[in-house]
């Protein structure tokens, strides 16, 4: 694989500092639909570039794997101190997509594309919720208002599930993808396995921190019952999100979990 193609792929399956491009673009784009397109399409472009060339797993140099892991670790670590939900979303995307480089050996193109989609799907849902927060509060920011569990119970319930899905909790796609990556790396790169486990731990930490900054605390009485009460999701919206999550779980179990 020519180096320039590799570098180009490194822009879309983001490797630091090329990853800064994606994060800057994501930050600039405020429209939720465009953000979702970016989340779905960006890694697929990277995978398409890789597979359009005569790439073989053995042609990927070790330093490239180290670079991918370092990028993932860097963004996972940086997520710990983020307060903007949108930025948290893009950093998690960067950290997760970078790990896809490890799936390049003994994983088919279709499977890799499925992995990328499995990672992006909860992030897309989170982008919608982030937009919902911006609409209600003017900003999607942790620690700014808090108490969402009281003022927006349905919204909070969905937020919890989507964040859990995003940080690779069982039985969402990220969980099975991480297991596959760990299995792949453990045979040939034990240190990469340990790095993946560390990255996974940082995602969990960052996810819980995000949730605590949003849902915990006391909402003002007017936000809960007053005339300025915040508008929670209606039943139809809640069920739509819930069905999407159920579909995500079922497809995750059957497609990435191998329960078929």
């Amino acid at each position: 694989m020519p180096d320039i193609t590799l570098i180009l792929a490194g822009l879309f399956l983001p490797l630091f500092p090329l990853s800064m491009v994606f994060n800057a673009v994501f930050d600039r784009i405020q429209h939720v639909a465009l953000r979702c397109l970016l989340l779905i399409g960006w890694p697929q472009i990277g995978l398409a570039i890789i597979h359009s060339s005569d790439f073989t797993a053995s042609s990927l140099p070790t330093w490239f794997i180290i670079w991918a892991l370092a990028t993932s670790l860097l963004y996972a670590f940086r997520m710990l101190s983020l307060r903007a939900v949108g930025q948290w979303n893009s950093f998690l995307a960067t950290s997760m997509w970078a790990t896809l480089w490890l799936s390049s050996s003994n994983t088919s193109q279709e499977m890799q594309q499925l992995y990328a989609f499995g990672i992006s799907a909860p992030l897309v849902l989170l982008a919608f919720l982030s937009a919902g927060l911006e609409k209600r509060f003017g900003a999607a920011y942790t620690g700014l208002y808090g108490g969402l569990a009281q003022s927006l119970p349905r919204f909070t319930g969905l937020l919890v599930f989507i964040v859990l899905a995003a940080i690779a909790t069982p039985v969402f796609p990220g969980f099975f993808i991480m297991l596959k990556l760990i299995i792949n790396s453990s045979a040939t790169m034990p240190l990469a396995t340990l790095a993946l486990l560390g990255i996974w731990l940082l995602w969990s930490w960052a996810g819980v921190k995000l949730l605590q900054g949003l849902i915990v605390g006391t909402a003002s009485q007017s936000e809960v019952t007053g005339v300025n009460a915040l508008k929670d999701f209606n039943l139809i919206t809640s069920w739509s999100y819930a069905l999407l999550l159920i579909a995500l779980i079922v497809s995750s179990i059957y497609l990435t979990g191998g329960l078929s």
Binding site: R78, S81, G147, Q150, V171, L179, I183, W200, W205, G217
Partner: protein
């Protein structure tokens, strides 16, 4: 029949969680009855399964066409499913009224049901992936149960400590599962155990035999879940959660470490040094947990450290090869600790009316006009203290098994029994009761009943959980050290115990009680009152990490 039962036992709480969530709006607080009924049914089915198992049909798997989602019904999973079900049922019933005034009533029962299902799934997992999923989910669900009161940031702060410690513990289990899968190309636990027992040294990792590496990883996962030293700080601080959750956590969830070590017993049986380290970690945790428990002035925090100590003992029992005893211990501990938590409120109420501090001798003599007791010979009392407990222990164990004392683990357990019995007699002596001999006789009789009961029940557990005598022997052998080293340690320990009790009685009688004054005592007190600065250290570490993350973001302009 049995495979359908085990599936039903797990499905019932899951179904109940779904129904409780869906019907909460229509049924209001009555919705909790669905949850209680489902748990009750699950318990009844577990009891039936145990009955069938005791009737002879011992081991099997649920039918599954996939490589995972296999349920396993061996004696260990059947017994643990019943224990989890019973504790969960008690917590459910207690919560009906206890949580009635709390917000998120239905959510609480949904979480309780999901936790019950996850715990039963964990103990019944017949493959690595199902085990890892259930193990992981228990940590996530516990986080939300502890943070039931979403208005309370403090509850969430400590729930986070629990969550992150559990996640740290998840990782070694994942790694162990991956290594086992790589080596044996199957997820099935029975198949892995079978292949491993045929040729334990067939695979190596980092130059070590696979069982050694897996043993270490499983032990680490168990340490995090069972609050062993260095991974214990979350346990005493999770008291901001609802009392029923504390009861469930201390009675059921922290015990998972003991279960995990038992589940992987066939692997530990093929290790050479791991169990000795498990013993040392358990021993340190037991000592530190017990010391810190005594230094607390908050009843729930004291119970938290007591659990740490008990978990230390449980892990220590695994470390000496007495795996089934650890299961017996975790069941008994679950029952008594659950009772203590659920009655903590009543005790606090009573303490407000009466401090319960015993009156001293002078008060009894002057105010209550009770004559002072006649002093007994200190040497005689010391000899009774040393001889009676050990005699009872040896005789009761000889009834069970003649070769019992050939096992090093059994000797270590005898030491603990001996110290406990001696402590009981000394405590009786120190009451300075009027009729000391009568009181002593009653206490020794109680001790004898407890020891006989314990000996026979633990033997029954051994036979039921590990029907294969060869595996039992193999576990004791794996936990053993070189005979000469063990004998020297045993003799020195015996001398220390004998000398200590003689000195204690002499000092008590002669009034030469050592007063620990000066810097050493103050330093030690500062250490235990600050809980060995462990929490401060972890808080500092966390702040440093978060600060470094923030600085990095600023430096990289948040992109």
């Amino acid at each position: 029949m049995m495979s359908k039962l085990i599936i039903l036992i797990i499905s019932l709480p899951l179904l109940s969680a779904l129904l409780t969530h869906l019907l909460a709006g229509k049924l209001g607080r009555c919705v909790a009855r669905i949850s209680v009924t489902a748990t009750l049914l699950s318990v009844l089915l577990s009891a039936s399964l145990l009955w069938l198992s005791l009737s002879g049909d011992l081991v099997g798997e649920s039918i599954s066409t996939s490589p995972w989602s296999v349920l396993f019904y061996d004696p260990l999973s059947i017994l643990m499913a019943l224990v989890i079900g019973v504790i969960s049922l008690i917590v459910h019933i207690y919560s009906l009224r206890y949580m009635a005034e709390e917000a998120g009533y239905a959510r609480f029962f949904v979480l309780l049901d999901l936790m019950t299902a996850s715990l039963i799934l964990m103990v019944a997992a017949g493959d690595l992936l199902t085990l890892v999923i259930a193990w992981h989910l228990v940590g996530v669900l516990l986080y939300f149960l502890l943070g039931q009161d979403t208005r309370n940031p403090s509850a969430y702060r400590y729930a986070f400590w629990t969550f992150i410690t559990y996640r740290i513990g998840d990782l070694p289990l994942v790694l162990a599962a991956v290594l086992l899968f790589q080596a044996y190309d199957t997820l099935s636990l029975p198949v892995i155990f079978e292949q491993l027992s045929q040729n334990p040294t067939a695979h190596e990792v980092f130059g070590l035999a696979l069982p050694e590496v897996i043993g270490i990883l499983i032990a680490l996962a168990a340490f995090a879940r069972s609050a062993q030293f260095l991974l214990h700080t979350w346990l005493p601080y999770t008291m901001e959660g609802p009392t029923p959750v504390s009861a469930l956590m201390h009675a059921g969830i922290v015990n998972a470490g003991g279960f995990l070590i038992n589940r992987f017993a066939p692997i530990f049986a093929n290790t050479s040094d791991v169990l000795q380290w498990v013993f040392i970690v358990g021993f340190i945790s037991a000592i530190i947990g017990s010391i810190l428990m005594l230094a607390q002035n908050d009843i729930k925090k004291s119970l938290g450290y007591s659990t740490m100590g008990q978990m230390g003992f449980m892990v220590m029992e695994c470390g000496i090869g007495a795996f089934s005893l650890a299961i017996y211990h975790l069941i008994v501990h679950g029952v008594f600790k659950g009772t203590l938590f659920l009655s903590a409120g009543t005790i606090i109420n009573k303490a407000r009316k009466s401090d319960g501090v015993p009156k001293d001798d002078l008060y009894k003599f002057v105010v209550e006009k009770q004559p002072a007791s006649t002093p007994k010979s200190w040497l005689l009392m010391a000899l009774i203290t040393l001889v009676v407990p050990i005699a009872i222990l040896i005789i009761s164990h000889l009834f069970v098994s003649a070769d019992y004392f050939q096992k090093q683990g059994a000797i270590i357990l005898l030491f603990f029994g001996w110290i406990t019995g001696a402590q009981l007699i000394f405590a009786t002596y120190r009451t300075h009761a009027q009729n000391l001999w009568r009181l002593l006789l009653i206490n020794v009789f109680s001790f004898t009943v407890v020891i006989i009961g314990y000996t026979f029940i633990s033997h029954a557990f051994d036979v039921y959980l590990y029907p294969d005598a060869a595996l039992r022997e193999q576990l004791y052998a794996a936990a053993s050290i070189e005979k000469i080293r063990f004998d020297i340690i045993a003799v020195i320990t015996t001398l220390i115990i004998v000398a200590s009790w003689l000195f204690t009685y002499y000092a008590e009688r002669s009034g030469k009680i050592i007063r620990y004054k000066g810097r050493i005592w103050i330093t030690f007190y500062a250490l235990i009152s600050r809980e060995f600065y462990m929490t401060d250290l972890y808080t500092l570490l966390t702040r440093t990490i978060l600060s470094a993350s923030n600085k990095l973001n600023v430096w990289l302009r948040w992109n």
